[in-house]
Every structure is written in C-alpha cells, then in structure tokens.
C-alpha cells in the first residue's frame, strides 16, 4: 500500500528507534501526551511501546470522540429514533456504546431500525432512497469529521431533502487540550499532535502550547515511522531547550489547514456555549451545534430531545484515565466490572479508548523474553 508500507519499514523503524535512544537522556523521565485516539490505537497496534526506551512514557489524551460522549447523549439519540418511521444511522464506532437502556446494536436486536454507515453521505443517500422514512444521522468526531457532516448538510439543503437530520455531537480539540493542561495533577513534557484534525485546522491553533505553556509539539501522522519521527522531533526540541510547533505530517497536513473545510463548517455550525465531556466535565466553547439557518436538518431542533443527564458510576475513574493521571489498569473496575464486552465507562467501549486498547492489545503481555529485540 503506497504511502503506508514505506512508513512501516522495519529497517528504518529500527534506525529511528536507535535515534530516539541516542537522544533520550537516561537520567530523565519523559512524559509525552498523544492527544488523538487514532494515535493510541496505532501505538498499541504496532507495539511501539516495545521499542521505545523505558524512560519515555506515552500518555493517552482525550482525543476519542466516542469516549468523551456522555451517556445521556446516546440515550437522547436513541430516544429520537424510537419512532418506527425513523432510521437511526451512525458510524460503526457508535454501535456498541451503551446508553442506559442499551447500545444502538442492542436496540437493533429489539427491533429498532439501526444501520451502520461509512459516511454521512451514505446516510443522506438512504434518505433519498426512503422518502417515506426519516433518516437521522448520529454525528460524532472532532474537526476531522465535522467538515464532512457540514458538507452533507449543505447538500441536503441544496437538494431539498427534508427527511434527513443530524444529531450533532461534534467536539473541538483545542479546548480539550487546554483542559488537560489546566489540570493541576498534570505533568507533561511535550505533545504528539493530532495529524488528521490538523488537515482541517492546520498547525497554527497549537502555537499557544509552545509559546504560553513552553511545551514542544509535533503534529504527527499515524504510521509507526510518523509517530517515532514525531518523538525524535520533540526530543530534539527539548535537548535544544526549544518549544515550537513542528509539522511531522507534511505530506498531508497544510500549515494553514483546509480553507474549504473550515468555510463549510462555519456556514453550517456554530460553537455551543458549553458542552459536557464525559470524564472532563463541562467545557465552554468546545462543541458544535447546527446553525438556525439549518434548523430543519438539526435533529435537536426538529424533535424533542429528552436531554437527561446521566452521571457515571462513582467507581469508574474514566476522568483520571482520560487526563492521563491514571493508567487504565489502575482504575478499580478495569478488567473486572469493566471490560470491552461489558463496558462500565466509555474508554472501554471504543477500540481507541485507552482502556479498551490497553485491554485488547497489551495487558496480558508478560515480559516476553522470547522476542528478539533489535540490537
């Protein structure tokens, strides 16, 4: 696979890992946060922790849009689809997320018309093909995904497709990073920046992290060599006493972002004054709602949303794990009441949530002496 295989080349990976070992001061303990759930997933999938020196710790940040969605919002979305005339559509990621009455898949087993879509445009297509039904699209995601929802809504309006609406749960990344840095129990040295969000917002929005917080940040791609190179970049900055924004993912991320995408978002969305993030609490100006000019395509304005707040069980320590204060295995429920099969908290539901990733890929690995390490 072009633009994928090259960045998984074992020889170059070994070289880059060697460079990391050369750069990392053995007397220091480094704490780097990778913000994006996709990075969490990649790190576990490629076993990158195995080739990093022990004094480099990767902390998983809150960039998992499924994980930070409060259970009440899932209940709301499912409530909207109770009417048999409604087709509930969502990405596969949402299907096993539990609401208080069960997940979308469980609702499907009980007779609700629930369908997985790969793209919001597929949901709109369903609306075109089923004029006597209403298609509701449960939208999730950060700024990577929001433009696609925006464009879909623009098309729905232009084409006059009225049996379609979006239940909007898009959130924005910068307020989440701010919340992490504002947290008193946080100690971070640098950031591995979210590469795909940056294809939309560019690299400028991270400048305050370098200027005001004095932390290096490298906006990183998702292949092993991307992540390792990003680590090389922040290590070099730290060694030189620098703190700046670097673009590791140059082949894909434009420094200024994607103007067309940002324009589409601006036309369709506006910021909510505040939004509840599971595990982080209420954060102002951190989520998108659909503008009044598109009210007809906004599920929340078109239908009655119950809007019930569901608080998490006190024992679930999702918040601390989300903030990187606790490791998944340190949560009292991990592996016992909370597993990917029966998740108590959302970090266990999404495969990119830190707890699920750790559970699925890592926690049963004892020190495997039989693996041969690169020299």
């Amino acid at each position: 696979m072009k633009f994928v295989d090259e960045f998984r080349d074992a020889g170059v990976i070994n070289k880059t890992a060697d460079e990391i070992r050369r750069l990392a001061d053995p007397a220091r303990h480094y704490r780097f946060m990778e913000v994006c759930g996709g990075h969490t997933h990649a790190i576990y999938r490629f076993g990158l922790k195995d080739i990093l020196p022990d004094n480099i710790e990767l902390i998983h940040g809150p960039g998992c849009p499924v994980c930070v969605l409060p259970m009440g919002r899932i209940d709301d979305g499912l409530a909207l689809a109770k009417d048999p005339a409604v087709i509930f559509t969502a990405f596969g990621d949402m299907m096993r997320v539990p609401g208080t009455q069960g997940s979308p898949l469980e609702h499907k087993a009980r007779g609700m018309d629930v369908r997985i879509v790969y793209s919001p445009s597929d949901a709109l297509k369903l609306a075109r093909l089923n004029p006597d039904r209403h298609v509701m699209f449960f939208a999730i995601g950060f700024e990577t995904t929001a433009p696609s929802t925006a464009l879909t809504l623009l098309r729905a309006k232009t084409e006059g497709i009225h049996n379609f609406s979006v239940f909007c749960n898009h959130v924005t990344i910068i307020p989440a990073i701010r919340a992490i840095l504002d947290s008193p129990d946080m100690r971070l040295d640098a950031f591995i920046g979210p590469g795909h969000v940056s294809t939309v917002i560019g690299c400028r929005p991270y400048e305050w992290i370098a200027k005001d917080e004095h932390k290096p940040i490298a906006v990183s791609g998702f292949e092993p060599l991307d992540i390792l190179q990003a680590i090389v970049m922040v290590l070099r900055q730290m060694k030189a006493g620098e703190a700046k924004v670097e673009n590791q993912y140059k082949r894909v991320v434009p420094w200024e972002g994607n103007r067309a995408a940002l324009r589409a978002m601006g036309e369709v969305f506006q910021l909510r004054p505040y939004f509840e993030w599971r595990g982080l609490g209420f954060i102002s100006q951190s989520a998108l709602r659909i503008r009044d000019s598109f009210a007809e395509w906004d599920s929340e304005q078109r239908f009655q949303v119950p809007g019930v707040r569901v608080t998490d069980p006190k024992a679930a320590q999702c918040g601390e794990v989300l903030k990187g204060v606790l490791k998944p295995a340190q949560c009292k429920l991990f592996g016992k009441e909370c597993t990917p099969e029966h998740p108590t908290g959302a970090l266990m539901v999404s495969s990119e949530g830190s707890c699920a990733a750790y559970y699925n890929y890592e926690h049963r690995k004892a020190t495997v002496a039989s693996l041969s390490w690169p020299a």
Binding site: M1, V4, A10, I13, N14, A17, G37, G38, H41, Y44, R45, F46, G47, L48, D50, I51, C64, P65, V66, F91, G92, D93, M95, R96, L105, K108, A109, R115, I116, V117, Y118, S119, D122, G141, T145, P224, P340, E341, S350, S351, E352, N360, Y361, E362, H363, R364, K365, A366, T367, V368, A369, S370, L371, S372, W373, P374
Partner: protein
C-alpha cells in the same frame, strides 16, 4: 445477536449452556466434530447452521457454504467426510428459482468433494420469520487412522501452519451487502479443505497436534481457543500472515483486523517441528495449497494468549472477537 458471530459470546453460549445441559460435559475442550461409537466402529459427526446475507455472493452461495463448512469440520477433526443430511427452513414467498439454485449448488459442492447427500428435510415458515433461508447440515465421517487431534498434546516449539490467505470470505460478504459502497475483485474462499488435510496427514500424521477451520471470528478466535485449551501462547509473525491486497485495503479503510475476519476455505494446524517442513511441503504440492505457510510458533508466555510480533520488535495481543467485526472511523 452477538452470539452468532463466533468469538466470546458464541463460545459462552455453547460452553455455558449447551455443553453442561446437552453434551454432559463442561470441562473438556470442544472440538469441530464429535466421535460416536456405532456398533463398535467410531464415527465422526458434526452439525452446523448457515445464516448468511446475501444468499449469493462472489465465489459462492449459502448452499456451498453449508456443504463445505460441514465437510471442513469433519476434515479438521481428522475424519474423511462420507455423507451429509440437510435441512432447510424457508421463508414463505421465497422464489423457487432461488431455492433451486441453492439446491443445485449444494449438490455440485457435494459432488466435487466426493460426499453423498443422504437425505434432508424442509420446513416453510411465515413471511418475516426467517431471513429467506436458513440451512443446517449434519455430516458423518470416518476417523482417519493414526490421527490424534488434541490441544493438550501441543508442545513448546510446535509450528503453526495456515493453508492460505485470510479474510477473503468475510470481506466479500461485507462488500456484497452493499451498505458500505465498496467494490473489489474478491471472492469467497469457500471450498473443501479435505484434499489438503488428507495430503498433509499422509506424510505428517504423527506430528499433527491440532487442526481447526477458522470460520466466524477468524484466525484470532481459533488460535485463542487453542491457547486457552492448551494453556500456552501462540506467537504469530505479522509479516508472515498471508493477506490479499484487496482484503488488506478493505481492512485498512474500515479499521478491521484480517485476523478477525471469517474464512470458509482455510485451515490451521499445529505441527511438531520435525514434521512441519514435510507437512508444509505436502500442502504446497497439492492443488489449492500453494499459498500455505508457517505463520507462528507455540511459546510459554503470555499463557493462554495470542501474540502478534513484528520485524521491528513490536508486539500486540490479539484477542477473540467480541461480537461482529464493526467498521470504524476513529
């Protein structure tokens, strides 16, 4: 609903409910086919149900899946498939053309495999009570001499062999459903693996410890079952796993792992090191076995788990599937 996908939920249903209540056992490892003594002779017997949407897809249809699936269960249990019986549960309103096509497909698959269809039954249920057609097949076979399939016989250092590329069937079905709007030149790999199994057993029987056909839940589920049953670790080499380009592309696009995707024409075997090369060679020499390969080894740790390792020293645990493999965008 998750119970039919193979993997943890199915396993719990079978082990927790069926085994103690019906089979009279809940402590012995479950196998692909059971041995029954009939008039002093040992007979292998197995049964399977087939529910698939759509009924026909590139490379086959439910009829062939049913026949090959049962033949393969017998084959990997170390038995020669002899005969099958078939039952159909049909939804009222199902077109006779469709039904006839499936019956023909089954007959053809059975003929190709040299297996007799000895009988069958049909029931018609109300419209809406069956998803067009459900098929159940029960197969009988003759246990082959000198073959002993037992996960407890698996030793450290044993090799894991795989008959060919993984993920073809599951991805073909996913694409054939049409919801994801993806197109690829892929076909289901449904076929009888008995000729390959037989060829391998002919030269390597004393070294064969265990075999399984990785259907629902994929290679990951079958190897996790083995790891659990023998208490050891299965180490797989990521770079050795045979995956066709289109399967890889679909999996990357949808965020799926080929190790979790169903196969209908492949089998796994664990072979002692002294027989591994000769077993692999036998597969290579048999039509259909050209892409067979060695994908891993049995180790001590991590106990009862499957570990995938990469050339650069990274590793990850691969667990059994929990429910269906779902596409993701995150």
């Amino acid at each position: 609903m998750a119970h039919g996908a193979g993997g943890k939920a199915s396993r719990r249903l079978v082990e927790g409910l069926f085994a103690p209540l019906l089979f009279g056992t809940n402590s012995e490892p479950l196998t692909d086919a059971a041995r029954v003594a009939v008039n002093g002779a040992q007979v292998a017997i197995t049964t399977d149900s087939f529910v698939v949407n759509p009924l026909t897809f590139p490379g086959g249809s439910i009829g062939e899946l049913a026949v090959n699936g049962t033949i393969n269960d017998l084959a990997v249990s170390g038995a020669r498939p002899e005969a099958i019986v078939v039952t159909f549960v049909l939804e009222a309103g199902l077109s006779t053309t469709v039904l006839e096509a499936e019956v023909r497909a089954m007959g053809e698959a059975a003929r190709r495999a040299g297996v007799r269809v000895a009988g069958g039954d049909t029931k018609v249920v109300e419209h809406g009570k069956a998803d067009r057609m459900y098929v159940t097949t029960t197969g009988l076979g003759t246990p082959l001499h000198g073959v002993s399939i037992d996960p407890h016989s698996v030793q450290l250092g044993d090799k894991v062999l795989l008959s060919g590329p993984i993920g073809d069937h599951g991805i073909t079905i996913l694409l054939a459903r049409g919801d994801l709007d993806l197109e690829a030149d892929l076909r289901s790999d449904t076929r009888s693996v008995f000729p390959l199994v037989e060829a391998m057993l002919q030269v390597a029987a004393p070294g064969i410890r265990w075999m399984r056909d990785p259907t629902r839940g994929g290679v990951a589920t079958s190897l996790n079952e083995l790891a659990r049953d023998c208490g050891r670790a299965v180490h797989l080499k990521e770079d050795e796993l045979p995956v066709r380009d289109a399967v890889r592309g679909a999996c990357e696009l949808l965020g799926l792992d080929p190790l979790h995707i169903a196969n209908e024409g492949q089998f796994l075997s664990v072979v002692s090191p002294d027989y591994a090369d000769v077993a692999l060679n036998a597969l290579h020499q048999t039509p259909g076995g050209e892409e067979a390969c060695m994908i891993g080894e049995i180790h001590e740790e991590p106990a009862a788990a499957v570990l995938v390792t990469t050339l650069y020293g990274g590793s990850r645990i691969v667990d059994m599937l929990v429910g269906d493999p779902l596409p993701r965008i995150c």
